[in-house]
Amino acid sequence: MRRLPVYFLLDTSGSMFGEPIQALNNALSGMVNTLRMDPQALDSLWLSIITFDREIKEVIPLTELVSFQLPEITCPQSGPTHTGKALEVLYEKVKTEVRKGSTEQKGDWKPLLFIFTDGKPSDLQLYREMIPKIKSLNFGAVVACAAGHLADDKMLKELTDTVVHLDTADSSTLKTFFKWVSDTIEQGNKSMGTQESVALPPPPAQINLVI
């Protein structure tokens, strides 16, 4: 049956070392637990995690929520942020993993993409090259999250209209953000209004949504 594929692109560059990466792990596991309490999510949700620093790692390939085992995400003490390269890897993954509808089989729901970063792309040229390609994948939603004062909202705005800016990457802010992420993922299960429906739930108050 139809799956809802959700991709997480997580920045593990040197600047995330220390408290931020701890907070990210904590928030992610909170989010997975929240989703596991939702029967609708368990019915259709598939998750993938890709991390990027100097290297791009597919930490978990697209996996059904029930079998999803979250590993500890680590990062080097220093190094560049290869966001462009990450998008390149993502592009290939989405192209092969997300099932398109055919005359024989129902396709997956439009995938969702969440990008979390605390800096700016070190491989700017590749990043810009990848943007139209990513857009061509027809994601249901692309949400970029910029954490901390070094994160560049403008750069992310080139990729998506939905940029969430977190002033800090501390544990409670990230938790709130990922709560909102799980709300976004679960949005499809709620009552639909008679007027055109909104794709994203309103973000929690302590987060700045750059639109």
Partner: protein, 502 residues
């Protein structure tokens, strides 16, 4: 930081309190906070409510509340709904006071393998999906949460009654869904929540079109039209009846009646819209087989339920099969043909009279509907019934000396009871039965190798075949072809006995 906030009724001025944790539970439209003693919640609409909406809410908590619950029999309905009791206004925000759900509707155990959902609400989806009862699924529900197949009949009867009562008051729920109907197969209860979306025809239009999986085809196929367009179809009593039929099908068969293998468009969103809307087609349609589920594409964790060849919908018995045909074949695109809630209630109840306990002690369903064959077997585990099986067909007096069949059959099993509603056709088995009418009038038992009916309360039980009165506290043997008059009063029925599985 949590703070306790006091608010007051927009109607009476009565004050209420809630604890603002900063992290309310979020519904589709509302943010929900508990009162300090957790006996009620305060649910705030996130959006500003206009005059019309406030008037509607006011009516729901006053006029309709009184009409439903402050009348004779009102106590019964309190268990079927979670009805808002008051409306508040604070900082231009409108909120409702809603009683907390009964404790049966929170998981005592939850998952078989962890405590993750212990204490969480039992929304319907948990019990409508085959995965959560599959032993191979890591996050399956604990057996103690699942009930048996018969439990779901009582659950569905309660849902049907809740919908019936709303409709008889001229109201429509407009958003019956997993989230809005809580289900507990353990206590065999159900409660309709989110009553605030109630639609009053002509007076208050709906503000939601419903929840995916339950939206009626005509609502989806006109979704693109402007809300003021005369051809736009919005939720009403008839769309509730679609949602009710889907719900009953799902709680008995753990699959969706319209989600099959047919591709209507290569684009997922458009395909979904067509498959549930304009091009909706029953997966078990007897002649158009184009929407049959494709076995190879099913999630193995959803088997055997997802396989309509293994568990076809006629395992729910003849009365329900007929209603499913009416709802998903005739009425799918012709809303007026959909069976009303009361027909579902009666068909579910009559079906329980056709049920047999499965002889296999480890059968997961425990009960099945007699399949009308001479050698019955459980369709779920395949176990054959051993021994004879008396089948009682009910007749009513059409005119003196002429008896006609009721299309109602009672299957006998050891320690099965006979009730007033079997004996007399003037007594309907519904929520209006008195306590006295719920007391059995006799029971069936297999005694010294014979099937007998022991008379407990019938003062004019007569064996017509042997022309013999059976007094109270005596018994009569059930034999093939025998006729019994259950009561000589007006409305009293005759039963004829057939022995199956001889």
């Amino acid at each position: 930081m949590s703070k306790t906030i006091t608010v007051s009724s927009a109607i009476t001025g009565k004050s209420y309190q809630y604890i603002d944790t900063g992290e309310p539970m979020r519904g589709g439209m509302k943010d929900v906070f508990f009162s300090p003693d957790k006996t009620y919640v305060v649910a705030f609409y996130r959006d500003i409510q206009d005059y019309n909406s406030r008037e509607r809410l006011k009516k729901i908590v006053t006029q309709y509340y009184d009409a439903f619950f402050k009348k004779e029999g009102g106590e019964y309905y309190k268990n079927l709904y979670c009805w808002p009791t008051d409306m508040i206004e604070a900082d231009r925000k409108v909120g409702l006071i809603v009683p907390t759900y009964h404790k049966n509707f929170f998981f005592k155990k939850g998952y078989a393998t962890s405590d993750l959902i212990k204490g969480k609400e039992k929304e319907g989806k948990w019990f409508a999906s085959a995965k959560f009862r599959n032993k191979q699924f890591a996050l399956r529900l604990d057996e103690s949460e699942l009930g048996n197949w018969l439990s779901y009949f009582q659950v569905c009867v309660n849902i049907a009654r809740g919908v019936k009562r709303l409709h008889s008051a001229g109201l429509a729920h407009s958003d019956l869904s997993y989230k809005n109907v809580l289900v507990d197969p353990v206590s065999k209860s159900a409660a309709i929540i989110d009553i605030d979306g109630l639609v009053v025809p002509g007076l208050f239009p709906p503000d939601v079109i419903g929840t995916a999986d339950f939206i009626a085809p005509e609502v989806l196929s006109t979704k693109h039209l402007d809300i003021k367009d005369v051809n736009r179809k919005l939720p009403n009593r008839l769309t509730d009846l679609h949602a009710l039929a889907v719900m009953i099908y799902m709680y008995l068969l753990y699959r969706h009646p319209l989600k099959g293998g047919k591709i209507n468009d290569l684009d997922t969103e458009r395909d979904d819209l067509l498959s549930m809307g304009e091009k909706a087609l029953f997966i078990e349609h007897p002649t158009d087989t184009s929407n049959r589920p494709k076995i190879g594409q099913l999630n193995p964790k959803e088997l055997p339920w997802a396989d309509i060849m293994k568990i076809p919908y006629h395992v729910t018995g003849p009365y329900l099969k007929e209603l499913f045909d009416q709802a998903f074949i005739k009425g799918l695109h012709h809303p007026n043909e959909r069976p009303p809630a009361e027909m579902w209630e009666q068909a579910l109840l009559k079906t329980t009279d056709l049920m047999q306990p499965c002889m296999n002690p480890s059968c997961e369903q425990k009960w099945y509907v007699f399949d009308n064959t001479l050698s019955p077997r459980c369709p779920f585990c395949g176990t054959r019934h051993l021994g004879t099986l008396p089948v009682l067909d009910l007749y009513y007096q059409f005119k003196p000396a002429v008896w006609k069949p009721e299309n109602h059959r009672l299957m006998v099993y050891n320690n099965q009871y006979l009730f007033q509603w079997h004996v007399n056709r003037n007594i309907t088995r519904n929520e209006k039965l008195t306590a006295e009418q719920k007391v059995p009038v006799g029971y069936f038992t297999f005694y010294h190798n014979k099937w007998v009916l022991v008379n407990q309360k019938l003062d004019s039980l007569k064996d017509l075949t042997e022309d013999k009165i059976i007094p109270i506290n005596e018994m009569v043997e059930l034999t093939d072809g025998k006729k019994l008059l259950l009561s000589k009063e007006d409305g009293g029925r005759v039963v004829t006995i057939t022995m199956a599985n001889k």
